[in-house]
Amino acid sequence: MSRIFTVCLKEILDNLRDRQTLFYALLFGPLLLPLIVAGSLIAGFKQSDIDFSEVSELAVLHADRAPNLISFLRQQNVDVTQAPENYKAELQDGSLELVLEIPENYASNLRTAKPAPLTLYVNHGDRNSSKAARKLSRLLEVHKRTIDTLRLQARGLNPDVFDSVQVTEIDISEDGAGVQILASMLPFLLIMSMVMGGFYLAIDTTAGERERQSLEPLLSLPVQRFSVVAGKYLATWCFVTLSGLLTAIALVLLFRFFPSDVLSTLLRFDAFTIAKAFVLALPLTVLITSLLLAVSAFTRSSKEAQTYLGVLMVIPMAPFFLLQFLNIRSANAIMAMPMMSQYKLLEKVAKGESILPVHILLSVTGTLVFATALFSLAVWLYKRDQIIT
């Protein structure tokens, strides 16, 4: 047992002196990754959400041709300005979001009860422009209905006659579409940072040691090869877990700065929730460590190990994308699958849904079974002659 700790402590000390390992374990996973991923997701979420109470700007060509429409828009918090000469160019480069043109025959058509034309210049390549266009279209729809109603009433008709069908959309999902992405962000960030945290340490202690040819004298010492692997395993596990823990802490701090109106009603990212998520993800540290170690024990050089593990990065990412596109239910079989089950469990935690104890049991058991198998594979690889050739 003391041999295992000797190997473990040496590997930790050795790798604490390696800037690459430290960067990925302490900075990349816990800090940079959440900032990049969460930041862009939150920004995207805000972009697609239309706020009608917000004052928006609208450039109008020939505003004088439709004074009633303009005053209606002003009442709806739209700040109407005169469109510049080169409005098309400005729309294209994004300095202008939207231009409304009022053609010459607008007023005359309106007076003679013919369809009055309006032209909207929009740049659908620009998300802000699209969003502004959606907002303005809704406002114009309201304006149109008012005119329609007045016209029908003036002719003695009930306006409801023309509403043959009335569609009401009620969103019964517990969350909106964007919330699903935000919820799976929690497992994604935790798991990715765990993988990144142990990535370089696993490579350095196994493939790296083979490459430096320091493995040969090490294995000639009076120590079981199992103890050597176990020591390296323990060191890698420490980094995996530390990286996960730091990410959890970073997420708690990070979500304090996020717009509360987006998150508070739909998702929970308070300290208690994230602590719960971390505990549920904890069995994964064992599995991730086994996976990293087994793969790098199989390879001969750091470069080879990085290639293999780079491809294997798909495993922790796959559930994130699968869950976005496929509707995967929390069936027992899914809950016994490592990675996938943690994604489902952590999503539920983030959404504040209740979790069945049997699902937790299945998740932990499934994960530990895989972890044991991979660890045994690593030990077996170390017991072969080929490990030193």
């Binding site: 003391s2 041999r3 000797t6 190997v7 040496k10 000390l13 050795d14 790798n15 002196r17 390696d18 430096r212 040819q213 320091s214 493995l215 040969e216 004298p217 090490l218 294995l219 000639s220 010492l221 009076p222 120590v223 079981q224 002659d385 030193i388 050739t389």
Partner: protein, 275 residues
């Protein structure tokens, strides 16, 4: 004391096989020799002759396919841990950890060997003195010269006071002064009663140092004797000529053809068949 009893080892051939080539490479074939305490035994052979494979089997890093060896009474197949306790092994490029200091490198091995703290510290101090490492003992090994690395590797191999010392081409990459220093150290270790087995392809090295020489060629022991014995039996005046004569003469005992795989030899002196 090392008694090697006809050990063999073969590997599966890597890469594409030429037609007619066997599936496996026989790296070591039926090798037997003895290295006794208090003397220096040299394993002399060209590159790829099977020196490293032999040493690796003796260090219990690899399992022989056939045969065995007894180190200080312990069988390398049945009592691996006991064998490892009695040996100090230094592979051909020291293999020390660049981010650890020389002292940390040595302490690490002592701790794994279960040497207690007090003993470890005194033993390390002794080794620092013996190998003249005081000037760099607390520096990280990153920028060490090959000579300094070899010293750390040697100190590491000696920290648990092993009876038997196995060194794989220890003078590789060392300059003349460092080589001489190392020779003195090895000589002193043998005089202290250690059994020293080292492999080399450098004639002067073996000539200057070894009490006994085992010549290994194409995975087999071609001759085993003292330096004088080899010179007399081949009728040559220096080891280099004796060596070439031994490895190019068919060994009648084993009825073998001395064929040297061109890509496994960089000595460039061998041709197929007798010289």
């Amino acid at each position: 004391m090392i008694v090697v009893e006809s050990i063999s080892k073969s590997f599966s051939r890597k890469g594409k096989r030429k037609p007619g080539e066997p599936r496996r490479i026989e790296a070591v074939k039926d090798v037997s020799f003895t290295a006794s305490d208090g003397s220096i035994t040299g394993l002399l052979g060209s590159n790829g002759a099977g020196k490293s494979t032999t040493l690796r089997m003796l260090a219990t890093l690899m399992q022989p396919d056939d045969g065995t060896a007894i180190l200080d009474g312990h069988d390398i197949i049945r009592s691996k841990l006991e064998v490892r306790r009695t040996i100090g092994f230094m592979p051909h490029n020291a293999g020390i950890y660049p981010r650890l200091t020389a002292r940390e490198n040595i302490y690490y091995y002592a701790d794994i060997c279960g040497v207690d703290r007090v003993q470890r510290n005194t033993r390390t101090d002794e080794l620092i003195q013996m190998l003249d490492m005081a000037s760099f003992i607390d520096r990280r090994a990153d920028g060490f010269s090959q000579g300094q690395k070899t010293k750390v590797g040697l100190a590491r191999a000696l920290v648990h006071s092993p009876r038997t010392l196995m060194l794989d081409e220890p003078t590789n990459g060392l300059d003349v002064v460092a080589t001489r220093g190392l020779r003195d150290i090895i000589r002193k270790l043998a005089d202290d009663g250690h059994c020293v087995l080292f492999s080399s392809h450098v004639m002067q090295e073996v000539e200057a140092l070894c009490d006994r020489i085992a010549v290994i060629a194409d995975g087999r022991i071609a001759a085993e004797s003292s330096l004088n014995g080899l010179l007399i039996s081949t009728g040559q005046t220096n080891l280099e000529d004796a060596f070439v004569s031994i490895i190019t003469t068919p060994n009648t005992k084993n009825e073998k053809q001395v064929t040297v795989d061109s890509n496994r030899s960089d000595m460039g002196r061998h041709t197929d068949g007798p010289a």
